[in-house]
Symmetry: C2
Subunit: 169 residues, 2 copies
């Protein structure tokens, strides 16, 4: 069976070494807190205004301000800054916390499209950091698509008639 990491690499086209090259530099020290806040603000401004309703609706039950804070605190923590996210919310637990959302290949691509645009429109992120971050985001998005599939495995267990229905493609 392919591991989460293998699926993430294969589907995203980004190998693990490139994805986790974010750890070679302290991107938090390089970019600073305000840049991460700006990036997540730009990102979610795009998301909550997305013309594609199927994608926008995934976020309908979350408040924009909270989504922004969750994201930039996680980015800051993962990119070697203070553990803002864990102090407030606990472990990132990326797969567990994405459990309520349909993290499909299509949703991953839409997320990545908006993140690429958000990176472009955020001042003070140099090309080197943008490339590193995009590789990390691309690999992580597909890591979560792989994580989402675990959910379907579990859902086939509880009752007999559910097992006879094929899982949605």
């Amino acid at each position: 069976m392919q591991s989460l990491q293998q699926k993430a690499s294969e589907w995203s086209g980004v190998n693990a070494a490139d994805a986790f090259a974010i750890d070679e530099t302290n991107l938090f020290q390089k970019l600073g807190l305000q840049t991460f806040i700006n990036l997540s603000t730009n990102f979610y401004t795009r998301i909550y205004d997305d013309e594609e309703e199927w994608f926008r609706s995934i976020f309908a039950n979350s408040k924009k301000e909270e989504a922004i804070q969750n994201q930039y605190e996680f980015f800051v923590q993962r990119m070697r800054g203070p553990a803002l996210y864990s102090e407030r919310k606990g472990h990132p637990a990326l797969i567990g916390r994405h459990r309520p959302f349909p993290v499909t290949h299509r949703a991953a691509e839409r997320w990545l499209h908006h993140m690429e645009k958000a990176l472009e429109s955020t001042l003070d992120i140099d090309t080197y950091s943008k490339l590193r971050m995009m590789n990390f985001f691309r690999h992580t998005a597909y890591f979560l698509v792989a994580g989402d599939e675990l959910k379907n495995q579990n859902q086939r267990v509880p009752c007999k008639h559910a097992a006879s229905k094929p899982a949605a493609a």
Copy 2:
């Protein structure tokens, strides 16, 4: 609804500030790689020899050497050392990766019992670091008990007769 963090704090008796006080010092720099390898070796030697079969059997499908490596690489990464775990396996995704295991209150206590003994028997860990790590482990163990409950929530969805059964206390 209580958050994962709130449940972890309430059930473990360790508040988030104390759990994530591991971030105030770079414990990896302080203790070094070999100490983490020794700790996880001591821990899993106890686990795989546990006289309590119900607990030992949780690990029966994992190889001891692999369990040791997974654990010390995660600890090293989380305690501000190199991202050994992610380079090899991807995001820690603690809840997602514990999905196959029954992470009950009882299992958390047994895990913590062995970890406390393993910390005691590992040379070169000072009292200050032991205390910090134990707070982190205790909070995290109950964070995963809280994460485990999400599994049961999902399992109530797929079929009607499942919804009529009350969840186990």
